[in-house]
Amino acid sequence: MTRFVANTITFPYKRSLGPVVGAFMTAMTERRILGIRNGDQVLVPPMEWDPATGAELAHEFVEVGPAGTVTSWTWVPSPSEQHPLDHPFAFALIQLDGATTPLLHAVDAGSPETLTEGARVAPRWRGTRLGRIDDIVCFVPGETPEVEGVDTGPAGEPVARMDYLASITYRNPVPDATDRATEASKEHRLLGLRCPTCGRVYAGGRGYCPIDAIELGPDCEVDLPHTGTITNYAIVTPVQYPGQTETEPFVRAFVLLDGTDVIVPYSAVIELPADEMRVGVRVAAVWASPAEEIDEGGGMGGAWGALVGWIPSGEPDVNDPDLVNRIF
């Protein structure tokens, strides 16, 4: 039975807005909605370019709405976590007064029976507005805009950037070969798979030969040595993005295992400061004790399991100018 693992990935985008979208978002904080003139048309939301020809538009903004007319709609009986409202609502195309194109937004209409094409709606503004399309919580039936909560007023300066954060949970199968390699690591074994066709050996729980494109099962397993030589490395200066736990520069090294062609990539190296890192250093595997093990394994993650990384063995460096080319 294949095991599945769930990973939640967040996407924290920071987007610069530019002169047209930025003007729209700044006006949103003032409870005003802007379109842009394109010949006889007024485009809402405003575009930087003519949607048909791609010609750049002059920054001639036109205030529209705030009320408008529903030109089309659909009912959302079960909102998602990303939707503007947590109870059933309509997504509608709303032609704001003075605009020639419709804006997509939510309408808090109670039930689908009460909504018709041609219905008049007006915005329900958020009390605190950041310069985002969802500064309008939703539209409501009628001609009169509303404000939700206390109105904290417009932005102090033009809005130039907006944050967007999505969070998606993925469930992916874990190959059997990965699980077998992880289990072996708990016994401090470094498991490899030898391709019966080409003879190449792979570590890291990859369950197939990428050269011959065949699956490698348990009958292909071999034990790999626990010593090797650093062939290449990078010193990573951590950038503080969400989820980053490192704060100081750290090394990721590639280790060629003795007597094999196997490279263990992206390895942690302990007890060797970053400024003493060099090609040719002889290293030995370091394993986590059962007490040190964490859910993700010994620190390298994935099929490496209890392998924490590598430690200098004290042997003399290997002096081979070709070593540096070995990263695969």
Partner: protein, 346 residues
């Protein structure tokens, strides 16, 4: 070899293709699916991975949930010694378009293209809003079902579809169900019911494309690509006439659809109303069999759905047909459309 006008290629043909089981949920990784599909496409031709001159893979990181997921997918093509390779973050139909262009350079003979996706990995209603306009649509969680419903309403209002015709499309595509019974079901997004909506499908497809001389050595009846074009429209559906698909019409004109009749049309219509709209825009008469494969309503392996349409059209040529149309699409409300014409003679 000569190049024709816009969208008319040289002497290049589809000689084989294969797809994995198209299922609601697979235990295989995308790479493993591709390994199977590529082997199954090559083996009947007596070709191996070493014979491939160029590969182009179509897949989507957002669906996989992994940055640069196409890098691990390269393990399926046997890229040693190194190969000429490309990737499109699009359906495999666009990978085929790139390979078709590449073969026209004339210096190589055999290309393999793939499309692959595991839609079961995440929730499509949460993933796809991230691919929408990031300023005005994504922050609202504007999902594909909502856009499809708004387009369905426009298509119905224009008299091109109605809820009964849409249910008839679903029954024909899936080969099961009763129209009257289906019309009593609840709406998922008015006017769409569950039968109007595609299944969630995992799957991968691989296709082998060769220049003409090699094609005739490999198979009895190559499916020659005699026209190929794709066009796109504005990203925001608000700015489009949702009861029309001008990009489909333009692509079909450029690909030479009007040069002669087609016997079948494989359309990437994930929603029932899309099939009715596309058939109208393409001017398909009652004598054209639309989606004899069952189409995307029967199996929708996203990123491979369009490539499968071209595959089924190629099967029609292999099995004795003369001319077939295949279509693929990308983006909300049929934003971008691709048309490929396949024939039994170059």
């Amino acid at each position: 070899m000569s190049l024709g006008g816009a969208g008319r290629g040289g002497d290049i043909a589809v000689v084989g293709w294969a797809h994995t089981p198209l299922v609601r949920h697979t235990d295989k990784s995308e790479t493993q699916m591709l390994m199977d599909a590529i082997s199954d496409a090559l083996d009947p031709l007596g070709l191996t991975r070493a014979d491939i001159d160029f590969t182009c893979l179509g897949s989507c990181d957002y669906i996989t949930g992994q940055a640069f997921s196409f890098v691990s997918n390269l393990d399926a093509i046997g890229a040693w010694p190194p190969k000429r390779d490309s990737h499109v973050e699009m359906d495999g139909a666009w990978a085929l378009y790139e390979a078709w262009l590449r073969l026209q350079e004339g210096d190589i003979e055999i290309a393999v293209v793939t499309g692959s996706g595991r839609s079961s990995t995440g929730d499509p209603s949460l993933i796809y809003p991230m691919e929408m306009d990031p300023y005005f649509l994504a922050p609202l969680g504007a999902d594909p079902l909502t856009f499809a419903a708004l387009q369905a309403r426009a298509v119905i209002k224009a008299g091109i579809a109605d809820e009964r015709k849409m249910a008839e499309v679903a029954v024909r595509a899936r080969g099961k169900g009763d129209v009257d019974a289906l019309l009593t079901e609840e709406y998922m997004r008015q006017p769409l019911r569950r039968h109007d909506v595609p299944p969630i499908t995992d799957g991968a497809a691989a296709m082998v494309l060769t220049t003409g001389d090699r094609a005739r050595q490999l198979v009895d009846r190559p499916a020659y690509i005699t026209g190929f074009d794709h066009r796109t429209e504005c990203h925001n559906p608000s700015f489009r006439a949702l009861d029309d698909s001008p990009s489909t019409r333009l692509a079909a004109e450029a690909a030479g659809l009007g040069d002669g009749p087609v016997e079948i049309a494989e359309l990437q219509a994930a929603f029932t109303h899309e099939e009715l709209l596309l058939a109208r825009v393409l001017g398909l008469g009652g004598d054209v069999a639309v989606n004899p494969s069952g189409g995307a309503l029967r199996a929708n392996p996203i990123m491979a759905t369009g490539l499968c349409r071209i595959g089924y059209a190629a099967n029609h040529i292999r099995d004795g047909g003369h001319r077939a149309l295949a279509h693929s699409t990308s983006g909300p409300c049929l934003q971008q459309n691709l048309v490929c014409i396949l024939e039994d003679t170059p």
